[in-house]
Structures are given as structure tokens and as C-alpha cells.
């Protein structure tokens, strides 16, 4: 086996190990919280409807047994891991019983990936372009006007910006809808109307993410470009009399691609982490929204499932970066490391 193959296998195994360890940690963590889905459900019912359910204790016990929640923690842990790794079974959702958790998750996943992935990528592209231009023209009026704005906007957490946009564009000016993935009365399908409605509803959540991320990417790209402008090889290229286009493209942009694509991969890995609040604010049915609703009800399996998915993305992104970086960076490729 070639050394690189061995290296890859070792890396993959390491990531799998981290995955299982983090996963297990999370499992024990959730289960340490006082309360469980059944008790919660009964309590909420009681609070909402002021029922005093006569046989509540026995009822709770029965349901717990049915769900296997009365078994000792460790048994449940072993069972969960086994089911998860061998059969990709996330278990049933306790709240939406008997729907299995993975069904809920799979329905929610495309919404998250679509909204967030799309936003992150657009923001990256725009940010790189604007950042390069502003960096190249550093010190000019353009730089002095755009950069401070970018600096401030990039520090606003996306969910706060989302609230602001919601206020202004949705409630005040009534240009955009205030939530939901598409108009409630439409049928799902690939009709033009549906697609337009999708885009219309996705606009505000996407915009809040894109605005903040574009500014962040722009600032980082600008910093990289300005750093590079001081590099010897850029000066040398200038001394060669190369035109601006060629110079910026091959001697600056190319050199920023290395760190920036890594950054993009990391961002994509973390998208789900950043999604919870935005989805909740706009009632967008993605993983984040699913998670928030599951928390209130202590729906263990759904909670675990969401976290598993999130961790998976992060680890996958990291793994890909680790494996692909040598391919992009010629310095590492030829065995220098």
C-alpha cells in the first residue's frame, strides 16, 4: 500500500473515532437533563388544559416502557450506537410518534442545505470579488467608503440582521413574507409558481446570511490581497511589466484561493450550526427549526439526530480539506511535507 493510501485511511479512521466519541458525549449529556419526553408531554398537557389526568403516573410508566426509556442508561446507549452505526436508524421521534426520527430529519435537511449552502456560496463568490477589487484599490475613495461599512456589518450576528430585515422589509414595508418556505396555499411541485414562491420566501433569510457573510469574506479577502501586494513576487511581476488583469488573476487571486477555499469548506461544514436562529425566526423548516421545536419537547432521538447530522457535516468538511489540500497546494503536493 502506498504511503499516501495509508495516510488517508488513518485520517478517516481518526475522524470516525472523533465522531463516535463526540456523539457518545452528547448522548450522555442529553440524558443527564432532568425530565424526559413522556413526562414533559404530560406536564405540558396538564399546564395547557388544566387537566388533572388521574392515572398520569401509570400512564407515564407505560409509555416509558413502550419507548424503552425505563431501561438503564448504558443499555440504551449501546442500543442507540448499534442502531445508528449499523442500520442508520435514528430511532422513532417521541413526539411525532410513530414517525421515525430520520424521516423528520431527511425532510428538513434539504431545506437547510438549500438555503444555507446557497447563501454561503453566493456570499463567498461575491465577497472574493469585492474583496479583491477593494484590496487592489486600497487607499482610494472606494476603499475608504466600502471597507468601514463592511467591517461593521460583518460583525452583526446574522440573526440580529435577520430581525432587522424582517422588521423593515416584511412588517413595515410589506415587501416580503414573514416566514415559511413557500406560500401556504400552493401545491408542491416544479411549477413556475411554486419555484417563484420558494425564492420569494427564501429571500429574506438568505439575504441576512449573505449580507453578513459577504462582508466577512470581503474583509478577509481584502486583507489577504493587501498582504500579497507587499510580497516580493508581486513586485517582481510588476517589474516584468505585466498588465493588471494578468497580474491580479495569476499572481494575487490564485494565491488567495488556497486559504479561501479552505475557509469556504469550513463554512460549509458549519452551516447547520449557524442555521438555528435564522430558521426559527423565519419558521423555515430546516434542521435548525426542527431542533428548536424538539428541544421544548425533549424529543431525544430527533435532537440526537440533528446533532449527528451537524457533526457529520463538520467532520466531513474537515476531512475533505485535510485530504484535498495537498492537491490544491503545489507546495505540499510534491511530497514536501
Amino acid at each position: 500500500m502506498r504511503p499516501t493510501h495509508l495516510h488517508i485511511i488513518k485520517k478517516v479512521l481518526l475522524y470516525c473515532l472523533i465522531f463516535v466519541v463526540s456523539l457518545s458525549a452528547f448522548f450522555f449529556f442529553i440524558n443527564l437533563v432532568p425530565g424526559d419526553p413522556v413526562t414533559r408531554y404530560v406536564e405540558t398537557m396538564r399546564a395547557q388544559y388544566s387537566y388533572s389526568i388521574p392515572v398520569s403516573d401509570e400512564l407515564i410508566q407505560e409509555y416509558k416502557q413502550a419507548f424503552g426509556l425505563d431501561k438503564p442508561l448504558f443499555t440504551r446507549y449501546i442500543y442507540y450506537i448499534r442502531e445508528l452505526l449499523l442500520k442508520q436508524n435514528f430511532g422513532p421521534s417521541f413526539v411525532a410518534f410513530p414517525k421515525p426520527a430520520h424521516e423528520l430529519i431527511l425532510t428538513a435537511l434539504p431545506w437547510s442545505i438549500g438555503l444555507l449552502g446557497f447563501s454561503v456560496i453566493i456570499a463567498w463568490v461575491l465577497g472574493m470579488v469585492i474583496g479583491t477589487i477593494v484590496g487592489w484599490k486600497r487607499g482610494t475613495g472606494l476603499d475608504h467608503s466600502i471597507t468601514p461599512i463592511g467591517l461593521i456589518v460583518s460583525q452583526i450576528p446574522p440573526y440580529l440582521l435577520a430581525l432587522l430585515l424582517l422588521m423593515v422589509l416584511s412588517y413595515a414595508l410589506e415587501i416580503f413574507p414573514s416566514g415559511g418556505p413557500y406560500s401556504a396555499h400552493l401545491e408542491r411541485g416544479f411549477t413556475l409558481q411554486f419555484v417563484l414562491s420558494l425564492l420569494y420566501h427564501a429571500f429574506l433569510p438568505s439575504l441576512s446570511l449573505v449580507l453578513v457573510y459577504v462582508c466577512a469574506w470581503m474583509i478577509s479577502q481584502r486583507a489577504l490581497v493587501i498582504n500579497l501586494l507587499g510580497e516580493d513576487y508581486v513586485r517582481f511581476a510588476e517589474a516584468k511589466g505585466l498588465g493588471s488583469a494578468r497580474l491580479v488573476n495569476r499572481y494575487i487571486l490564485r494565491n488567495t484561493l488556497l486559504p479561501q477555499t479552505t475557509g469556504l469548506a469550513m463554512s460549509l461544514g458549519f452551516i447547520i450550526n449557524g442555521s438555528f436562529l435564522i430558521e426559527w425566526i423565519f419558521r423555515y423548516p430546516g434542521i435548525g427549526y426542527l431542533f428548536v421545536t424538539a428541544i421544548m419537547a425533549m424529543d431525544y432521538n430527533v435532537l440526537m439526530g440533528c446533532v449527528v447530522v451537524s457533526m457529520f457535516f463538520v467532520l466531513l468538511a474537515n476531512l475533505l480539506i485535510d485530504l484535498l489540500y495537498p492537491l490544491i497546494d503545489p507546495r505540499i503536493r510534491r511530497g514536501e511535507w
Partner: protein, 297 residues
């Protein structure tokens, strides 16, 4: 000790303060916020005549902007300005405490790991990375479920406990590189014990990084806390800015066009983040003069 001699702390500090515009803006903004918080009890006591800012029904609901109520009142008859100040107080307090605790943990770990290097460093780094992978918000969300009652201390501890990895990750490589510097070698040769070296030689030169780590940690803590409050998680009796927004939204402020109640906490939060980040960037510029040309405004 091979530190900068001949200049005392005050002179150095004022020089640093003057040298970066961003730093000045950040510090001034933050000081204004802190002062408002310190004065909060006095101001609120005076204006509300002894009532708590969160007390319901003190005034009529939804009053327009007047001199008495510059920002009006909310749905429950509470003066918005007073609420804001209280919210600011809690947000900042939680942020500073949690951030401080997190930085403490991070610095201790980083000092040990970065200085000793080798196996310890790899262990700490791997541990930090493993913790970082677990998504923060879900963990926090679930953690605060433990804290149903209004327990400020617990919230702070939980926030700190989950945000130290970020600070640690920033700081460890810095210490590792500092360790290689020649004056450390000198100190070692002169026979100082490890602990002494850490405190007397590394820490003073390391202070700027610690401060940067601290403000990142504070910003992170406030962000995390706000994110939790927005969805209504956490103790309901501690009205930090995030919770204020949540209350406003749940009483239909948006639909009824009472934007001020939502807008003002958001603006305050943005101010907090901007000031903290400017302090960060400013400090970065000061200690890394090359950056000045890059981020130079």
C-alpha cells in the same frame, strides 16, 4: 527581565491608546456602555421611583414617546428605556463574567500546553478540537434546560464552560511561538523554574493576546447568550437584551408595528459587538504594525 524598560505602564498604555483609531473607538464605545450599566441602578431608581424595570403595570401600556418615557412603554406597561438599561446590565455582566472565566480556563490550558509542548500540547489541541466539533448552540440550549430557575451563576458557568475552546485555540499557537523566542531560552538558562518563567516572562508579553482572547470570549458569550434568549430558553427572570427581544416578539410587537422595542435592544447589541471587535482589531494593529497598512482606515 528583558521587557521594555524605562517606560511605565501609564505611558505605554496611553501611547497604545493613541496609536489606533479603531482601538480608541472601541474602548470609548465600550466605556460608555459600561458607564451606563454602572449608573443603571441610580438612573432606574430615580426615574421609576423605586419600582423594578421589569415590574408589570407600573405605567400605561404602549405610551408614545414623551420626555417621561423617551422610548415609550411596552405591552406590559414597562418603561422601555429602563428595561433597556437593565437588559444591557445583564447582558454585559453575563458576557464579562463568562468571558473572563472562559479566558482564565483557556489561558491556563494554553500556558501549560504551549509551554510544555510535545505530548501535552497535542493532547490539549486534540481535546480542544474535539470539543469544537460539537455544535455549540445545541449544547448550550440543552444545558440551559438544567437551569430552570433564575440562577445567574450557573448560566455564566455553562457559557464559560462551552466557549473556552475557541479562546484556547487562538491562544495556544501564540504561546508556542513565544516559547521559542530567545529571551525565554535565556530565562531557562538562568535557572528560573518553569512556573516562574511562565508568569514572569511569557505572561507580560503575552498580555495583549490575552486581552484579545478575552474580548473574543466576551463577544462570544454575549452572542451565545442572546441566541439562547431569543428563542426563549433560559431563566425567565433574568432579562438580558436577548430576552427583551423575545418578549417583544411574543407580544406581537412586530405585527403591531411597535418597532422601537425590538430595534433598541438590537442596536445596543450591535454596539456591544462592534465595540468589542474594534478593540480586538485595534489591538491587533498595535501589536502587529504591518496590519495597520492593511486594515488602516
Amino acid at each position: 527581565m528583558l521587557k521594555e524598560t524605562g517606560t511605565n505602564f501609564l505611558v505605554r498604555s496611553s501611547r497604545i491608546f493613541k496609536s489606533s483609531l479603531k482601538l480608541r473607538i472601541g474602548i470609548i464605545l465600550f466605556t460608555v456602555l459600561v458607564i451606563s450599566v454602572i449608573l443603571e441602578p441610580a438612573i432606574n431608581n430615580y426615574r421609576l421611583e423605586g419600582h423594578e424595570s421589569t415590574e408589570i403595570g407600573v405605567y400605561d401600556a404602549l405610551l408614545p414617546f414623551t420626555f417621561e418615557h423617551p422610548l415609550g412603554t411596552d405591552h406590559y406597561g414597562r418603561d422601555v428605556l429602563a428595561l433597556l438599561l437593565t437588559g444591557l446590565k445583564y447582558s454585559l455582566f453575563i458576557g464579562l463574567m463568562a468571558g473572563g472565566l472562559a479566558t482564565l480556563i483557556a489561558v491556563s490550558l494554553a500556558l501549560m500546553a504551549g509551554y510544555k509542548g510535545g505530548r501535552l500540547e497535542t493532547l490539549v489541541t486534540t481535546f480542544t478540537n474535539a470539543v469544537l466539533i460539537i455544535p455549540l448552540w445545541p449544547i448550550l440550549a440543552i444545558a440551559v434546560l438544567f437551569v430552570e430557575r433564575a440562577d445567574l451563576v450557573l448560566i455564566i458557568v455553562i457559557l464559560a464552560f462551552f466557549s473556552w475552546p475557541w479562546a484556547c485555540r487562538q491562544i495556544t499557537p501564540q504561546i508556542a511561538s513565544l516559547k521559542e523566542r530567545p529571551y525565554i531560552e535565556l530565562a531557562k538558562v538562568s535557572g528560573l523554574r518553569d512556573l516562574e518563567i511562565m508568569f514572569k516572562e511569557i505572561l507580560p508579553n503575552f498580555l495583549p493576546y490575552v486581552i484579545v482572547g478575552f474580548s473574543y470570549a466576551v463577544a462570544g458569550a454575549i452572542m451565545a447568550e442572546t441566541a439562547l434568549r431569543l428563542v426563549g430558553l433560559g431563566p425567565g427572570a433574568i432579562p438580558s437584551l436577548g430576552l427583551l427581544i423575545n418578549w417583544a416578539m411574543y407580544t406581537g410587537a412586530l405585527a403591531q408595528q411597535h418597532y422601537v422595542i425590538v430595534l433598541s435592544p438590537i442596536l445596543l447589541l450591535v454596539l456591544i459587538f462592534v465595540s468589542l471587535n474594534f478593540i480586538n482589531i485595534g489591538l491587533d494593529e498595535v501589536y502587529n504594525p504591518r496590519l495597520k497598512k492593511i486594515t488602516g482606515l
